[in-house]
Amino acid sequence: MPLSANPALPQNMLSRTLRKVAGQSEIALFVSLVLIVIVFSSLSEYFLTTRNLTNVLGQASIILLIATGVAVALIGGEVDISVGSLVAAVALPLVEIMNATGSLSLGILGALVLGLMIGAINGYLSAYLRINSLIVTLGMLFLIRGGVYLWTNKRAQADTAYLDSFFAIGNGKAFGIMPIPAIIAGVIVLMVMFIMHKTRFGRRIYAAGGSAEVARMVGYDVRRIKFICFLISSTLATIAGILLASRLGAAVHTSGQGYEFQAIAAVVLGGVSLAGGRGNILGAALGVLILAYLSNGLGMINAPTEWQLVITGIVIVAAVSLDSYKKSKE
């Protein structure tokens, strides 16, 4: 039992700290990310510029937030694919309330209320009525999108309040360098990371996803835990929807389509298991960044979209199969 034998040896401290925040697979993901940056830096003179590197963080912030929520749900043993439609829906109260009242805070409040309502419906149907969450959220994906179309009559709802604060949350840069959405997403992701690893509730999410039966036996209110997972997922997607609306200056009824697949692919690439209870937020975030820089890099070297799609598909298969190969070797 080598680890417990002498836990306090100082030379172990660094590696232990590292292991605490990052497992081996996260380190591998990080190395892949660095490799992508190196390769594209040598292919395009514009890639390795502060401006581009930070741009991508801003662009990735939306999927990053969605993916983090999806990861929490997956870790809790559930799946939420309604997020793609939710992103479009929450922008509506946001923009309409802002236009009517001139208040960003009220708009955000409206968006959060709608997002939480959707999360609560997802959570109630999945956790309490115990309908398979893939089906619930697939149904909701249709329902919400249709609802958005009905509500808007398929016209984008423009921001006519022109609040600088609203413009800034999606388009501004801190110190002229770092996109604000990247900072918002970064802080939130760190918070979720902390919750998942350091708080009792976070561990209960892992337990509920790892084995709901066991979690129930040790006295967790598994239904409540899963319910809250859906609230977290929809809250994060709501924040993503708010940032996206700011970047678009409007509630665009078609926005967010297919984001659910992008997010799930990234999260699984980052080592989160579809079976629940396994993986972590850091990995999921790295998965998102890998796909974001890959896509940006391919754009920078002028690779046509069709190649971007093909290469992304291949990268996902390669990464996930490598991972399962490694696991089978253990």
Binding site: L125, L129, R130, I131, N132, L134, I135, V136, L138, G139, M140, L141, F142, L143, R145, G146, G147, Y149, L150, K154, A212, F261, I264, A265, V268, L274, P304, T305, E306, W307, Q308, L309, V310, I311, T312, G313, I314, I316, V317, V320, S321, S324, Y325, S328
Partner: protein, 326 residues
């Protein structure tokens, strides 16, 4: 035989119908047909029936394959992208060879080939099929534009080709005949053959099947390739219907197909499902689609109503089976 249990409780006939596997679906279908017949004068006409069956056939053909896949606890998200790509292959090969038969074969072979790669990625590379086929979907969406930048037209105006989809056999539209044959064959295989039993078992407990001296990988392989080949068949019909190969076709098709299969009572966890359920579910979804236009309702409801029905159906199923079944 809808799954691995052969449960038959006795009770009043009506109660039994509702409690039976298809009870909910039959009730919904009946309500829809009766309701729409009353509300829309032209609903219950032969020409509308033909239109509904026509629309159902494309989805049904692929849904039969997807039912098999879900029962084995796998899934294929790439069917929509595969459909689009394969339809281009069909038309292209017909243009090049002047042979409709060769074109159809090529389309089916292409579809099956995609299924084969999906099987390889899932079974050999051990990538979860949800992820593997999402990746395949991306690759096909990109790939089809590398193959052709525009819709492939029927360059030689071969007249027989569009007639496949619009023709009739014994008064029944050709695509409907295809779909019926596919569904019947699928039903028969699942319900009556040893192979069908292994499809269920492979989804219920792969290790047990392997220890019992069968190869679940082979079963799953078959399900992937079959699904792909059926997509190819659907692509032939689609290309014929549009008289062209359409690289943009099939968006969202995978969700429609999967929604139908789930609505039909097939379990996402594997080990449970029926073709009859799938058939009923496809009909329900397509009648809803058709009814909304018949009633001249807002077409956006065509997205909303299936979502509602799906959740409701699974809720009913859940209530019936009790809390032991997550």
């Amino acid at each position: 035989m809808r799954d691995l249990t052969d449960d038959d409780r006795s009770g009043a006939l009506l109660r039994r119908v509702f409690n039976s596997e298809y009870g909910f679906l039959v009730v919904v279908l009946t309500l829809l047909v009766v309701g729409l017949s009353l509300a829309a004068t032209n609903f219950l006409t032969p020409s509308n029936a033909v239109a509904i069956l026509h629309q159902s056939s494309l989805v049904l053909i692929v849904a039969v394959g997807m039912t098999f896949l879900l029962i084995t606890a796998e899934v294929d998200i790439s069917v929509g992208a595969n459909l689009a790509f394969a339809s281009c292959v069909v038309m292209d090969v017909i243009n090049q060879t002047n042979s409709v038969a060769l074109g159809a074969l090529a389309g089916i072979a292409f579809g099956a080939g995609v299924g084969l790669i999906n099987a390889f990625v899932t079974l050999v590379l051990k990538v979860n099929s949800l992820i593997g086929t999402i990746a395949m979907m991306m690759a096909l969406q990109g790939g089809v534009y590398l193959y052709t930048r525009e819709a492939v037209q029927n360059h030689h105006q071969i007249e027989i080709f569009p007639k496949i989809a619009t023709g009739f056999i014994l008064g029944i539209p050709v695509p409907v005949v295809f779909a019926a044959v596919v569904a019947l064959a699928g039903w028969f295989y699942l319900a009556r053959t040893r192979g069908g039993r292994l499809v269920f078992a492979s989804g219920a407990n792969e290790a047990a099947v392997r220890l019992s001296g069968y190869s679940p990988a082979r079963v799953k392989f078959g399900a992937f390739v079959m699904t792909g080949a059926l997509v190819g068949l659907a692509a032939v019909i689609l290309a014929s219907l549009l008289n062209a190969g359409q690289p943009t076709a099939g968006t969202g098709f995978e969700l429609t197909v999967i929604a139908a299969v789930l609505l039909g009572g097939t379990s996402l966890m594997g080990g449970r499902g029926t073709i009859l359920g799938t058939v009923l579910a496809v009909l329900i979804l397509k009648i809803i689609d058709n009814g909304i236009i018949m009633l001249r309702w807002n077409q956006d409801l065509q997205i909303i109503v299936p979502g509602l029905v799906l959740i409701l159906a699974l809720y009913m199923d859940q209530k019936k089976r009790g809390p032991a079944h997550g």
